[in-house]
């Protein structure tokens, strides 16, 4: 018995060790990025692994002053707000009709919309690029927002339609008897009950738009319209040899999402776990 207990203890220690090691690996790039950003170029060239001797803030100042990081970030925020808002409104209306109203083609529409989730975004870019060139929509906010909104919408509709179906039918019936129209029911009954699903959507979709590089690099080519992700791909090439400076840029670029993640852990974790099944 004692033997067995000690083997359990050894097993637990091994499991702890595996988790600790995995957590360490998951954090290494973040730690490297932060530590290196606080070193001077000279210090990094001598010591790549150790803790910074004395904290150097200069790199952060240089990034913020000499590179348009804040304006890139502003553009990314505009993209996220615009496309997530547009997609959420469009998807709420559509998913409500699909889940709660009778009409021809509702099942077909949901199946079609859902299957679009498996179509890679890169397949859509050629005709949209040609069309946007003709319509002068390249490097415009509205042009890119529509594309992002479209790309995230199939997932939004799928998630919302699934969720709206779980709202008890009696609630509708009594509201209808009181003379409430569909729009009122959607606004006053269905949406408040679906807040968790909508939070999930906002988390998953914002992450997608904020992190995207492909659409940003093709449809927002103007320096003034660049998003953060497109911006850092230019930035890192320009300062190829200045590792601490580059890392300061990456710390600034990753800060918004990391801070949101730490503050809203619960929503993120729930959102990621629900969104993963998409």
């Amino acid at each position: 018995m004692a033997n067995r207990r000690s083997s359990i203890a050894a097993g637990d220690a091994l499991k702890q060790a595996v988790l600790l090691f995995s957590a360490f690996l998951a954090l290494v790039p973040t730690l490297f990025m932060i530590m290196t950003a606080l070193k001077s170029e000279e210090e990094y060239s001598i010591d790549k692994l150790g803790l910074p001797n004395r904290l150097v803030i200069e790199n952060f100042r240089a990034v913020l002053v000499d590179s348009p990081f804040l304006s890139w970030m502003g553009n990314s925020i505009i993209m996220v707000l615009g496309s997530v808002l547009l997609s959420t409104v469009v998807s709420c209306l559509g998913a409500y009709a699909i889940a709660c109203m009778e009409f021809k083609g509702r099942h077909g529409l949901l199946a079609l919309s859902t299957s679009l989730m498996a179509v890679p975004p890169v397949v859509m870019i050629v005709p949209l690029f040609v069309l946007y060139t003709r319509l002068d929509l390249i490097s415009t906010y509205q042009g890119a927002i529509i594309i992002y909104a479209g790309l995230i919408t199939p997932f939004s509709v799928y998630l919302l339609a699934t969720f709206f179906r779980t709202v008890p039918k009696e609630l509708f019936e009594s509201a209808r008897l009181d003379g409430a129209g569909h729009f009122l029911i959607l606004r006053k009954i269905v949406l408040p009950l679906s807040l968790p699903a909508i939070m999930t959507l906002i988390v998953v979709n914002s992450l997608y738009v904020w992190n995207d590089l492909l659409i940003a690099i093709i449809f927002l080519q103007d320096d003034a319209k660049r998003t953060l992700m497109a911006g850092i791909s230019v930035f890192q090439g320009r300062y190829n040899d200045q590792v601490p400076l580059t890392m300061a840029g990456m710390v600034i670029a990753s800060a918004p999402m990391l801070i949101l993640y730490i503050v809203f852990q619960k929503h993120f974790i729930r959102g990621l776990m629900a969104g993963a099944i998409k």
Binding site: D12, L19, A118, V122, T153, I277
Partner: protein, 294 residues
Amino acid sequence: MTRAQSSRVAPYLYVLPLVALLLFVFGYPLVRIFEFSFKMVRGIDGPWIGLRNYELILSQSLFWEAVLHNLQLLLAIPAMVVISLLVSVLLYERIAGWRFYRIIVFVPYVLAIPIIAVVMKRMFQFNGPVNEILRWLSLDFMALDWIGSSDVALWTVIILIVWRESALGIILFLARLLSLDESMIEAAKLEGASWWQRVWYIILPQMRGVIEFYVVVSVITMLAAVFAYVFIIGGGRGGPGTSTVVIEFYIFNALIRTSLPGIASAASVLLFLVSVLLIFPMFRARRRAREEEA
């Protein structure tokens, strides 16, 4: 308009914006890539040229090299599955501190791919910290030119992909594990089943669906959603040489750098057809994953 009439029209008004948006962002391009792929497009349109675009790309070695690179990326998937399973099962056992570990192992999925790629690119530089550690461990033969050598660069991309995409696997698997019926596992424990036996005979069989789903989603990712990784690691050129060129990059190049929308469309059509083939297994796997949970 009477009430009955309005309620017949109303649903269509509700889905109208949705249909319009999907038609614009998916419908229009999907029709147009087929049309463009048979045309010599200059600027916005051009004459029909039959199958010439397809003949051209299928006879181009760069195209096949790109295809091969995408297929090589599939090698990341077995590693991703094993790592995700191991970590998610350990988290599920609620080892001391599991909530804390859970927050940390999700971090790779929260960080943007371009940021991670820039950081890893610096870590894997020839005179960077990774090689410094390898030399310090007397593993000099492992201290490769991870980014600058055309034999190694794609493997570095694979390491990066495994590192990040495993986080998605952990998220998915943990979600499934938390919905398992624990009584069977408890019973097995009382019967004296070892950890391996419990995982192998009780937990894994119940996770078939979600593992299948993760594999199919990952196949789609490896074939058609790795642009951000290779764009940064390959320095925007698929380099060194052409060693990190994948299909997405081939399309990007044909469209933006050489301005040949016809060629880019033909490659898009081929990629689209492959993704259509994958839609059915994806739906089947998702259905099975959800049935398991119910």
